[in-house]
């Protein structure tokens, strides 16, 4: 009974905080001038142009997903299962583009590849024309989006590979080489993780508007954005966002059909993960990974560093943003903690299929993840901005609600993967001898899911810290976060100050993450 109540509370929180604002927006979109009408939807896809935009979005999301998986799966494998040197440094380098707001990453590449950018200054104007042509258009958007989202695939592949039962690999190794073991055993086992990574990358690219707009590649989300920003028509904007939600649900159904009949065996022992020796090929792998890290992470990082290279820029950046830095860290920590708690129970619900409608809850979480932040933001305003609920709307709670609405899916899915490696029999045995739900929760589930809990918290922290879409729509006066401050200062502020602010954002994201990993390392050493 206690278990049911806990899970119901988690579901109701998702429905109240996440789904209710969207339902309210959707309901309003069905009315025109106070009368029930499909008018807001009739204008959708009336012209050929909208179909072109949708196919552009598909092409971009499909290409980004394909390339990030193509690069991310081998990289994740190299980082988690081999003796590649400087792995931790590489992981940090590849994560950096995810921390920088994608629009700023595009700007950094503009400073590098633009017609009078760094490359043109070094190699001449003709090369500048060529690089500028590469940057502006599909190729440039594809490149920037791949570099931004690649770390998601790397992190998820690493997380899932750690769950593979080493006994299976040991058995296979008796009659096969490591590449065969990886191809036939390890990688097929982590297909749910690869699918999840692909799904997240696809959804994030499908909804992206900043990078395609600045690099001039027209995509479908601009339809909803225009309704908000040019027409101030919230109902039409919601209607224009619905196709993105429908596409996401279709992709989700495909994912489920694909994974339905497959059985995945994750490890249940505490045996250490097997590390593959790279042997003679180590320098080759090292060179390949280092080259990719240089292109994807070091170049934009250096551009920002060069642009910000003055004490006065950092002094001004800190003066203008010190309060926002503390707020960002605090709100992201609270947001990540809420996402962890909610993700824990919803992930448990999904993996243990505790209720019949488990998949419906998962679909709601994924749908919310796919919707533009502006739609959720306006929904939150229309639902919570009343005199009775002012204590929520006029406080930081509304930002946390926004994080929960948009990012619960991440925590839920990561936790579901974690619970798949905790045998049900342990819980069942405890239940048979009369151990109650909360003792099982604190005595079995939480201790065994520690790694997953830490992963959600870290992922949640990064996503909350970099969030702009929702925070921008709902932050109470004088509660702006660092990404919001960067964007409000971007117009007409000196480039070096903005670059310095971005470097600060990278640092404040990496410092807590490094501190946490040090704490974990110290604890392990003590054990």
């Amino acid at each position: 009974m206690a278990r049911k109540i806990t899970l119901w509370v988690a579901i109701l929180l998702l429905l109240l905080i996440g789904l209710a604002p969207v339902i309210s927006m959707f309901a309003k979109s069905l009315f025109v001038a106070g009368e029930l009408s499909l008018g807001n939807y009739e204008t959708l896809f009336q012209s050929e142009r909208e179909w072109i935009l949708l196919s552009n979005s598909f092409l971009l999301a499909g290409s980004v997903t394909f390339i990030t998986l193509l690069l991310g799966v081998p990289l994740g494998t190299l980082f988690s299962k081999t003796d590649l040197p400087f792995k931790k440094i590489f992981i940090i380098l590849f994560v950096i583009p995810l921390i920088i707001p994608s629009y700023i990453l595009a700007t950094a590449w503009f400073y590098f590849l633009g017609r009078s950018g760094i490359v043109a200054q070094i190699l001449g104007a003709n090369v500048g024309i060529f690089t500028s042509r590469f940057l502006f258009g599909f190729s440039g958007v594809l490149f920037v989006m791949v570099s931004t989202l690649l770390p998601i695939v790397i992190i998820l592949v690493m997380t899932y590979l750690r769950m593979v039962n080493p006994k299976l690999e040991e058995a296979a190794k008796l009659s096969a080489t490591w590449p065969v073991v990886l191809r036939e055993i390890s990688i097929p086992i982590i297909i749910p993780g690869i699918c999840l990574a692909g799904l997240i990358v696809f959804i994030l690219t499908l909804g992206e508007i900043g990078v395609p707009s600045s690099l001039r590649f027209d995509v479908f989300p601009v339809e909803s954005f225009i309704q908000f920003s040019a027409f101030y028509n919230f109902n039409a904007a919601t209607a224009a966002a619905i196709p993105l939600g429908v596409i996401t649900l279709i992709i989700l159904i495909i994912e489920r059909l694909f994974l339905r009949k497959k059985v995945f065996q994750f490890r249940v022992t505490k045996d250490p993960m097997i590390i593959i020796p790279l042997g003679e090929k180590k320098p080759l792998f090292f060179a390949a990974v280092a080259t990719l890290a240089f292109i994807i992470a070091i170049i934009p990082l250096c551009v920002l560093l060069i642009k910000s290279l003055s004490i006065s820029a950092y002094h001004e950046a800190l003066t203008r943003s010190i309060d926002s830095i503390f707020r960002s860290l605090l709100y992201a920590a609270i947001g990540a903690t809420c996402l962890t708690v909610l993700g824990f129970f919803l992930g448990y619900l999904l993996e243990r299929k505790a209720f019949r409608f488990t998949y419906a809850v998962d679909s709601i979480a994924i749908l919310l993840f796919a919707l533009p932040g502006t739609v959720i933001g306006i929904g939150l305003i229309s639902l919570w901005n009343t005199r009775a609920t002012n204590m929520i709307y006029a406080s930081v709670a509304i930002i946390i609600f926004g994080y929960i609405a948009q990012y619960t899916a991440l925590g839920e899915r990561i936790m579901a993967a974690t619970f798949s490696q905790i045998p049900r029999s342990m819980e069942e045995a405890a239940q048979i001898v009369g151990v109650g739900w909360f003792r099982r929760l604190f005595g079995i589930l939480i201790p065994l899911a520690k790694r997953g809990i830490a992963s959600i918290w870290l992922v949640g922290f990064i996503f909350c810290l970099r969030d702009l879409g929702i925070t921008m729509m709902v932050y109470p006066p004088a509660h702006d976060t660092l990404p919001v401050r960067i964007f409000t200062l971007m117009a007409n502020s000196p480039e070096e100050v903005i670059a310095a602010l971005c470097m600060i954002l990278i640092l404040i994201t990496l410092l807590p993450l490094s501190a946490l990993s040090l704490i974990i390392k110290n604890k392990r050493q003590k054990i």
């Binding site: 012209s47 142009r49 935009l53 629009y103 503009f110 633009g114 017609r115 009078s116 950018g117 500028s132 900043g210 707009s213 600045s214 001039r216 027209d218 601009v222 339809e223 225009i226 908000f228 920003s229 040019a230 027409f231 101030y232 919230f234 605090l330 609270i334 502006t374 306006i378 305003i381 229309s382 901005n385 009343t386 005199r387 002012n390 204590m391 709307y393 006029a394 406080s395 930081v396 709670a397 702009l468 921008m472 729509m473 932050y475 109470p476 006066p477 004088a478 509660h479 702006d480 919001v484 964007f487 409000t488 200062l489 971007m490 117009a491 007409n492 502020s493 000196p494």
Partner: protein, 337 residues
């Protein structure tokens, strides 16, 4: 358990100030760039002791985030004042019955063209729509003097303009429709497109494209151009259509709007008085935004023209706002969406 209470206590202490805030405050939503508006608001705080709580806009949302919030919050307004960076949004707020009339004593010196006759909005510190021109062009022949140069073969594929669906470019296009009539304005836009004009995401990006020699010229806001020049970027600034009988240059003042039902209306009025004062206009003229004071006789730096020295486009902003609604579908198509 103790840890739990500490966390809850920390969270509540963080929320508490939000809804138990001191009465002596004013909430302002700002679409003017934060770098320029924040110093004025801080000075207000210092001079009056009234605490400012601000929500700033971003370029990424085309500076419409604050406007969207005002509309969404109509039934329970959180803001007292809206500082719009152009007059059209102020007119839209009036139409949507979100603003409240207030005629400030400091509005006396501002020409009637730049304020609402009923007091729903008051203009101050304006920007002009000017050309930013790349010094890389070096050829004097390639210096534009009129917006009609956008359709001239000589500048084929060499010009850029910000997306006319957003911000001050929308106001400019709409003003052309009002000044010229639909037929002439549509013809101009079509010719402009045929001449290979690039469409950027913002005036800031247009300036960057010109600075980086991706394009020769662009019509932008005067603060974008002046800022680039003061940063010693290789560009110059030209006021278009200044010849005798010419169309003139569109002037877009900032506007101060009192929000209906805001939590601190009296402090809101005090803030509006401060924002539109001649002293604030002087500060904004000397700031990097180099805005043009609308009060007569306000001191300006040498690179900021006085309003009386500019041939301005005579437009009725109410009509521009009305026209804007009419032409948005056409503009969406024109911009390729």
């Amino acid at each position: 358990m103790r840890k739990f209470f500490v966390i809850v206590g920390l969270f509540l202490s963080m929320i508490y100030p939000s809804f138990s805030a001191a009465k002596d405050e004013v909430v302002v939503y700002v679409s003017e760039d934060q770098v320029f508006s924040e110093p004025i608001l801080r000075d207000f705080e210092k001079d009056t002791g009234i605490k400012i709580k601000a929500v700033y806009d971003t370029e990424e949302t085309k500076s419409t985030g604050a406007m969207n919030r005002l509309i969404a919050e109509k039934n329970n307004p959180q803001a007292d004042v809206y500082w719009a960076n152009e007059p059209i949004r102020a007119v839209v707020l009036k139409q949507k019955k979100i603003s409240s009339p207030y005629i400030s004593p400091n509005a006396k010196g501002i020409p009637p063209l730049f304020k609402d006759s009923e007091g729903y909005w008051t203009g101050f510190s304006a920007r002009a729509r000017v050309f930013v021109v790349s010094d890389g062009a070096s050829d004097k022949d390639l210096e534009p003097t009129s917006i009609l140069n956008y359709t001239d073969e000589k500048w084929k594929d060499k010009s850029v303009v910000a997306n006319p669906l957003f911000g001050t470019t929308t106001s400019w296009v709409s003003a052309l429709f009002v000044a010229w009539g639909d037929e002439k304005a549509t013809d101009f836009l079509e010719k402009m497109k045929k001449n290979g004009v690039k469409i950027s995401t913002s005036n800031g990006e247009s300036t960057t494209l010109v600075m980086n020699k991706e394009c020769i010229f662009s019509l932008v806001d005067s603060d974008d151009a002046t800022n680039a020049i003061r940063d010693e970027k290789p560009v110059s600034q030209i006021y278009p259509d200044q010849e005798e009988g010419g169309l003139g240059c569109l002037i877009l003042p900032n506007t101060a709007v009192l929000i209906k039902g805001g939590p601190n209306p009296e402090n809101g009025k005090k803030l509006i008085d401060y924002m539109i004062s001649a002293e604030s206009e002087r500060k904004l003229a000397f700031a990097d935004c180099a805005q043009i004071p609308l009060h007569e006789g306000v001191e300006t730096p040498p690179d900021v023209k006085k309003i009386e020295d500019i041939k301005t486009m005579e437009v009725d902003y109410e009509k521009v706002a009305e026209k804007l609604l009419e032409i948005q579908k056409y503009l969406k198509k024109w911009a390729g969406y």
